[in-house]
């Protein structure tokens, strides 16, 4: 299988902070790779290094077998501008035409606009679009040159449900035609919908890697919140956090944890059980990793 992107021990430090710590990653042709991680995990830095905007401190990065900054590579990748950066006075159709003009075999404009549900906005100036519309235009631009590999950094942040669906459809049809995607997201459902493989990053390193279902299994956590001045020793809690007189416990098995609390004769009141947020899951995952 052709590997489109390959990093080996990729490390990037700045101002004494290690933003990327020995990342080794392969993206084969046709794969949608979901990159999950809390803010500051190093996802954007990884994309900037992989797209040639930043230089690695050590280690290597190759796109399509060559330097990410080579012209040949640039013709094979698609990158999304941050939506706030679209030139305000340009019409959507002009933006698409302009980006397409850089590529030898661009997607037909009408087809691209249709794919991202932008046809009705073709004649609008970018500055007059809503944030979500600008975001969709920015994402569409990454696909204009018929790339083999597209980098999407938080593509659906700030989108409403319909816009997100339209975006997902666009990414899916690209994938169906054999395109590869590196997708970062805060939303685990987005990654679940789209990704073939998931990499979880934290503090510059890869802490988990696998298929969507494998990762989901690892992060299927519950958050148990209760009031108790003195908690007993609990084997079922992966983490305990205190906030005033409330304690937040994360657990993979809420039923067992509650049973353990009762058995230990804990004097808890006001118990609540809810699905853990993705953030919780990452915290638990990082905790796991460090314990090992």
């Amino acid at each position: 299988m052709t590997v489109l992107a390959r990093t080996r021990s990729l490390t990037r430090r700045y101002n004494g902070i290690t933003a990327l710590d020995k990342i080794s990653l392969d993206i084969p042709a046709g794969q949608v790779l979901g990159l999950l991680g809390p803010n500051g995990a190093g996802k954007s830095t990884l994309i900037n290094v992989m797209t040639g905007l930043l230089k690695p401190t050590s280690g290597s990065v190759e796109l399509c077998g060559t330097d990410p900054r080579s012209d040949e590579t640039r013709r094979a990748i698609g990158v999304t501008p941050q939506e706030t950066g679209l030139p305000e006075s340009w019409r959507v159709s002009e933006l698409v035409d302009f980006v397409s003009a850089h590529f030898p075999d661009p997607v037909d404009r009408a087809e691209l606009l249709e794919r991202f549900d932008l046809t009705a906005l073709a004649n609008r100036q970018a500055g007059g679009l809503s944030g979500g519309q600008q975001r969709r235009v920015a994402v569409a631009l990454a696909f204009a040159g018929r790339p083999k590999l597209v980098f999407l950094d938080e593509p659906s942040t700030g989108l409403d449900v319909d816009a997100r669906r339209a975006l997902w459809d666009g990414i899916r049809s690209f994938h169906a035609e054999g395109g590869a995607v590196l997708l970062t997201s805060h939303y685990i459902d987005e990654v679940e919908e789209l990704a073939d493989r998931v990499v979880v990053m934290d503090r510059g390193g890869i802490i988990a890697e696998g298929s969507v279902s494998e990762i989901r299994g690892r992060v299927r956590l519950k958050r148990v919140t209760l009031t108790d001045p003195v908690l007993p020793e609990l084997s079922g809690a992966t983490s305990i956090e205190r906030e005033a007189n409330r304690a937040h416990l994360l657990t993979n098995d809420a039923t067992a944890l509650v049973r353990e609390l009762v058995t230990a004769g804990a004097s808890f009141t006001d118990i609540e059980i809810e699905s853990a947020s993705l953030e919780d899951a990452f915290l638990a995952l990082t905790g796991d990793e460090r314990a090992v």
Binding site: R74, V79, E94, G145
Partner: protein, 253 residues
């Protein structure tokens, strides 16, 4: 499947068309350079010396140099600073084709801005004043003006690479008048204040103006300002190259 590159000339035209369209939709730059120098001319020069051939001919040449100063510095300092700072400028770097088509288009659009600055002045001079010069002299002066274009383009580039967008905008709105005054542009040669007379030869606006006047009228000018102009060009090339390299390193760090 081979993926052939888009020819540079075609990409250059794409950038030029887009940049021109943007300038026309938001014509701040065009209007400023097309109106300010000719405004100074119509209100402060023509009523007083409009029918004195020698005086108005020199004044026209000086104003053309001033127009070139505004056009080149205004255009290049802003496009370079914006390109370095903006999210869009960063995005353009991920597209194939490299930086050359962008730079060439900045130069082509810069020439259009220069034309927008010069043409109104020449029209007013030709239609409403006694300004006159033999054709060979005018052609020689056009050549000298090219030196002014290069000098002020370098000044604009250096500013664009060394200043943030905000500082570049401020420098553009307050910088031209002191540069023109210090270079003695707005004074009659006969009664220029002594202090200006002392500093003017060291200011690049004086050297460029002197060079154009020398070409146009053949009247001798002090050699100091021309020597200083050469020094300025060397300094500005150095600053531009240094700023460009520093920017490349920073961006990539």
């Amino acid at each position: 499947m081979t993926r052939k590159a888009i020819p540079m000339s075609s990409l250059t035209m794409t950038y030029t068309r887009r940049n021109l369209t943007e300038n026309i939709r938001t014509p701040t730059m065009f209007l400023t350079v097309a109106l300010v120098p000719v405004g100074v001319m119509v209100f402060f020069v023509v009523p007083f010396i409009g029918q004195d051939t020698a005086a108005i001919t020199s004044a026209t040449a000086t104003l053309v140099v001033f127009g070139v100063l505004m056009a080149c510095v205004g255009h290049f300092s802003i496009v370079i600073a914006a390109g370095r700072e903006s999210v869009w400028g960063n995005y353009l770097r991920t597209l194939p084709g490299g930086i050359m088509p962008q730079m060439l288009s900045h130069i082509l659009v810069g020439l259009v801005v220069v034309a927008a600055a010069i043409i109104p002045i020449l029209l007013v001079a030709g239609l409403f004043t006694a300004a006159a010069a033999p054709v060979p002299r005018v052609l020689l002066a056009a050549g000298a003006l090219l030196v002014a274009v290069v000098t002020f383009t370098l000044l604009g580039l250096a500013m664009g690479y060394l200043m943030s967008m905000r500082v570049a905008i401020i420098a553009n709105s307050i910088g031209f008048l002191p540069l023109a005054v210090a270079g003695g542009m707005f004074f009659d040669r006969a009664d220029t204040p002594a202090i200006i007379e002392h500093i003017a030869p060291f200011v690049p606006t004086r050297g460029t103006t002197d060079l154009v006047l020398l070409a146009l009228t053949g009247e001798p000018v002090g050699p100091l300002s021309l020597v200083m102009l050469a020094v300025w060009i060397v300094i500005l090339v150095g600053l531009t190259v240094w700023g460009y390299r520093r920017d490349q390193v920073r961006r990539f760090d």
